[in-house]
Symmetry: C2
Subunit: 309 residues, 2 copies
């Protein structure tokens, strides 16, 4: 039988991957907030480099308890922001059989959900995709699109294999990673320097950052700090990863980071998920992270000002 | 006899203090660049909290050798930017009797001039003033206005006393400081954190910075690094200075830093004079200054982008 999926959040990432799972035959309901009316009426149009698709969720709801079914998976694809309480949002639809999937950015984002639902399987998932939602109900998929997932804090399961199979059936390159936390640290090697720098530099794209010696030097220092934190918390990354990330930055086509997109649209930025959590991990292990501290201090102020505008 | 002064740069600071010296009876000629036509025709209008004044330079020139007299003082009041070569600009009017006054921002800005003219007296001067040039030929003086000066690298002289006397006669509170380099470090305690943060935070005024805990924490870290550099280079400052600067930031009426004003007007910022030189001093003494490095890396990129716009 096709699994019941409750998708929480139909922004760029949620809308895109929800559509792929629906294409693969899963029964996907969607929790919407600001885009509720539009998605309820029209569904979600996906304009993708790999072909357009129209995603009509089985049910569109404003609160999870409007769904009648017991979901096999709840996929949380909201941004990670202090004002979004994920356990409270999903609690009424977390049944013993429900696996919770966090398809979100950042580091150490699993803990609040893991401790709220200790009996449920928690799946951590990372998207590698260039996608945006220019308007409600419309998703533009420009490049990439793979996903990497695994059981939190480690391992895999049959249900994870089932989900990975569904993603693949929907055309999503998907890898199961039994050490998903290390994978998050690896992604943070890119996100922690380049997302903040792109905003703090007054709106620099990946090319402008890669061509600026001072920006790259700072990025390198931030990556060294992240690598130290990863190692301290039991997820060592090889030293060569830093050059690898820099090289990929240099060879990329110019694009705007997700944080820069949020900033320009006056949306809240994932400052805490990407920088705040890293800084808190540093405090926990008593590691000195002055470059991360600097970016965090500046970006907190920018985010606060940006939300007020 | 009233001294001959050649004023290089008639921006906000140069225009204001040149006017005061002229009021005091000095014979002030002015070197102008972009504002040459306007100043030549109309002079400079000073709108000041302590009364308006019209400053008509004795001569307005485009290059120093258009002046016929041998100046007793050359007062350099340009911004400190890599593209402005001060020794080349003034060379033809530096006579044995000429004292060179650097009325400019930043740290370690004296060296290039000191080594170009080793036989001349070099006077280093710091302005504490809230002043702007909303348009060519118009200076708005809003608050403060004192000046502190001394011989570089230390000491005083009769000519310095004469100049201080002229400033005072023109209504400028003026103190001679026989340890002017320490005074520059003291001013840098304010400039090094708050000028860059105001720009990098997306345009924060002094109040917004003072009310942001992350911004203040970062400012404090930067000040600790500056204090270490000052001490290493032989100009120790008391630890209490940090709380003092923070308190003054908290009690100030909200205003825009000079760097933020430059940024908003798409003018070059004094990144090198304020941050670059501090970072280079850190390298010289092998001091680790990660917070200064972070601000410097980001601000270099912002300045480069801002100049291109």
């Amino acid at each position: 039988m096709n699994p019941q999926i409750l998708l929480v959040g139909t922004g760029a990432v949620g809308g895109y991957y929800g559509a792929r799972l629906s294409q693969a035959g899963a029964r996907v309901s969607a929790l919407c907030r600001s885009d509720y009316d539009l998605v309820k009426k029209n569904g979600i149009a996906i304009r993708s480099v790999s072909g357009d698709y129209h995603f009509t969720p089985e049910k569109v709801v404003r609160a999870v308890d409007e769904c009648r079914s017991e979901p096999d998976y709840i996929i949380v694809a909201t941004k990670v922001l202090p004002e979004i309480n994920i356990p409270d949002t999903i609690r009424k639809k977390v049944f013993p059989k429900t696996s919770i999937v966090l398809l979100q950015n950042g580091i150490d984002i699993e803990e609040p959900v893991a401790s709220a639902f200790p009996e449920n399987e928690l799946i951590s998932a990372i998207a590698f995709i260039s996608v945006s939602r220019p308007e409600y109900g419309l998703i533009e998929h420009r490049d990439y699109g793979s996903i990497r997932l695994g059981r939190y804090p480690s391992g895999s399961s049959e249900k994870i294999e089932l989900l990975a199979g569904l993603f693949r059936k929907g055309g999503v390159p998907c890898e199961i990673d039994s050490d998903i936390v290390t994978a998050r640290w690896r992604k943070l090697m890119w996100n922690a320097p380049f997302n903040p720098i792109s905003v703090l530099a007054g709106g620099a794209d990946t090319r402008e950052m890669a061509e600026s010696a001072p920006a790259l030097m700072l990025a390198r220092k931030v990556m060294e700090e992240i690598r130290t934190l990863a190692e301290k918390s039991g997820h060592p990354l090889p030293p060569s990863i830093i050059d690898g990330v820099i090289e990929s930055a240099l060879s990329m086509t110019p694009s705007k980071t997700s944080m820069l997109q949020d900033y320009e649209l006056k949306r809240p930025m994932e400052v805490e998920a990407i920088l705040g959590n890293a800084v808190r991990i540093a405090r926990r292990y008593d590691v000195h992270v002055p470059h991360l501290d600097s970016l965090y201090g500046l970006l907190s102020l920018v985010d606060k000002k940006n939300r007020k505008v």
